[in-house]
Symmetry: C2
Subunit: 434 residues, 2 copies
């Protein structure tokens, strides 16, 4: 899919390694995907075989990012009351606003396990020992199946190789390691200017299910060589997450392990950003370009998705109203299946607007549906208007669909991103653990 | 599926016609399902053909219930801000707490149309003229596609035959007429006692998509020959809908046309119920038996569903908490697909509990999964416990699954009903209008 341009920002290659001072690596250490059945266990016992680590699936399953020196580091987390053990450990480790490394595994979420915190801390200490750094400077994250004991042995066994393989261009290996049901790696890097200095920011993200962010989403790791205080870095992240990742929904399920973590090395040499001046605006703009495009990639690659749906609500009395309306539409199962069927069943858009918890006058609402093939009016002042079903079909056959809703009441607007609901979503999730 | 027993209540046959004094009928009048494409329109124009009413689909599409005399009548309606035109008309007609007849069509929801109210009123006047009753005593409801002009001609043309065919055992023809994507008719009737008199109550309901009730749900029509004031009838309905239909979700979409309407003929001869005494309790109990079983039928026949999921949350600090938790679980797309896949992925239950807007202590939560094949513990004190995957599979292969959640914090509980999310849900909704 095409990246969406933001003024003053240039796209470059390199993902999280594009920023000065960051190495990365990813390897396959062999975390297993599902507990064995009793029969399998018995057959293993009788064979005296090793425990259940499936080494046949060779996708990378553990990633490491290492900064050359300590970085100002901040994060935002899921609002789910069930929180993954790694989140608790990471919160402790970066309460001083500093970190040096990020360790993250896929396959197993290390959540709802009695020994979860212990295992998450062990992951940090294994990294710290191998690299000779402080374990309190390590961020830890996990994603995968909830409620299965995390086997630490494959991680311990792989740690030496994971650390030895760290390079300044290892981003592709790292991004592969954080994928679960993702069908494509999701990374981005941008160049921008701060005080006349060229700065870089790069990020990687994983989807693709249990995506309905609330204060954060999914696992996202961003590096930058800009020089910015932890306080202002946190402010920029909290601002930008609200209008990017928090406006994506794949399936309405807010994950237990969501985390967005940003590390700033300061190596680009700009005067430190420590107040909300123009340079802060420039930095936040770059962060927006990175996170908005990662958000779009996540929606497009939602589990089973064939289409990216972008819903813009304009003319709202408040930004909150516009956001509520746009998110209600992209979250509706009935609307999502209609998009999969390429059926201009706009009544489902009105229905989803109607049950959203927002204030507006139904009789003023206009709705248009568009894509690169054109745009058609389907609803004016709350009632249907005649349109060509053939033209609608042509528009909806595209991979990026835009829904434009005008409430005709004010000047506020918001955009939300989602995807269609398909047979493959059901297939992927009908037996995720196997 | 089996009906669920309620003490003091006997199940009988006859649906809405089981109560004394109610006739019903349903016919196929020929409402079309989808607007013609431009090509189809052109070919019609050139042939001077009739407008697009598809007479090949012979399922009944219009139903009528007629009481022998005026009845105390009350209703509850959807909270969706986009409200079907029939709802506005019905609200006007029964604001005096009285009605004589119900006219309802499927195929077209008569919603988001500039002439919707006019058409809904026309449906009432057609009934009134044919039967020689007051049009203000007619309840009107519609269900089907939103935002397509309702053609009144087939309804006008069919009205004579619809009225002439009214009989005291016409319930089966009526219930067929209100079905849309329902795969089976949903009706029930019960006998119970009031002041030593045998009373009867019967109901019919339609599903099966856009089901996420809020203050009412779907179209449900209930008759009774009990003698009860409109005020107390409304109170009973408002109480019971909260713990029955409002606790069902098929797809999270709250419809624009939901309505539950109850008519009481008074013909069973009990002393009128006009205060909250024991007889009121007995009446409400019968209404609960009717609506709880209709709710279960609706969930079991949710679009594409292969299983009924019953989620009971106990040990909550408040009923609201228990309800919020139970509804969050049965609404989760990830949980629903796991049930379709017969996969005991209980982490998704914990995840859905965690993002529900309720208060509890995660570390106290126990979860069991059961069916007629047995019951297993999957989670204790917020962490996973070992269980047999084979036993879990055996349990989940059944058509009725129970999820038991204990918050271990108080004495309140609630039950919610849902269904699995399947390929067929996507299929049915990918091109609903065709």
């Amino acid at each position: 899919m095409e990246l969406k341009k933001v003024e003053g920002i240039n796209f470059i290659d390199g993902g999280v390694c594009a920023s000065k001072g960051f190495k990365a690596n990813g390897i396959h250490c062999g975390l297993a995907h599902k507990p064995l059945t009793d029969t399998e266990k018995n057959s293993q016992h009788s064979n005296n075989a090793e425990p259940a680590f499936d080494n046949t699936k060779k996708k990378n399953d553990i990633a490491l990012i290492l900064a050359d020196d300590i970085c100002n580091t901040v994060a935002v987390y899921t609002t789910n009351k069930v929180k993954g053990a790694p989140i608790q450990v990471t919160k402790n480790h970066i309460q001083n606003g500093k970190a040096r490394a990020v360790i993250v595994n896929s396959v197993n979420a290390n959540t709802c396990n009695a020994d979860g915190v212990e295992k998450a801390e062990k992951m940090c200490s294994l990294v710290a020992e191998e690299l000779g750094i402080d374990e309190n400077d390590v961020v830890v994250a996990s994603t995968g199946v909830i409620g299965q004991i995390l086997p630490i042995e494959p991680i311990a066994n792989g740690m030496k190789s994971l650390c030895e393989g760290l390079t300044y261009d290892g981003n592709a290996r790292a991004v592969e390691a954080i994928m679960t049901t993702d069908t494509m790696p999701k990374e981005i890097a941008v160049e921008f200017e701060l005080c006349g200095k060229k700065c870089v920011m790069g990020g990687m993200l994983k989807g693709s299910g249990m995506i309905h962010p609330n204060m954060a989403t999914t696992l996202t790791f961003i590096t930058t060589d800009a020089n910015i205080s932890s306080e202002l870095l946190q402010r920029a992240l909290s601002d930008v997450v609200k209008v990017t990742l928090n406006r994506v929904s794949v399936d309405g399920d807010t994950s237990t392990n969501d985390m967005v973590c940003v590390m700033a090395s300061g190596l680009c040499g700009n005067k430190i950003i420590d107040c909300e001046d123009n340079e802060f605006e420039n930095f936040r703009n770059a962060l927006y370009a990175v996170m908005m495009n990662l958000a779009r990639m996540m929606a497009r690659d939602g589990e089973g998705a064939t289409k990216l749906i972008e819903c813009a609500c304009v003319g709202a009395g408040s930004e909150k109203t516009a956001e509520t309306v746009a998110k209600s539409v992209i979250t509706s199962s009935l609307f999502k299946t209609a998009m999969f069927g390429e059926d201009a069943n706009w009544g489902r858009i009105l229905c989803a607007i109607g049950y959203s918890d927002a204030n507006f006058d139904i009789s003023k609402i206009d709705v248009n549906i568009g894509s690169s093939k054109g745009i058609i009016a389907v609803c004016r002042e709350g009632s249907g208007v005649e349109f060509s079903e053939e033209k609608a079909k042509e528009i909806l056959q595209e991979e990026e669909i835009q829904i434009y809703i005008s409430l005709n009441e004010g000047d506020c607007s918001a955009v939300a991103w989602g995807c269609d609901l398909t047979y493959d979503y059901v297939k992927i999730n009908g037996d995720y653990r196997s």
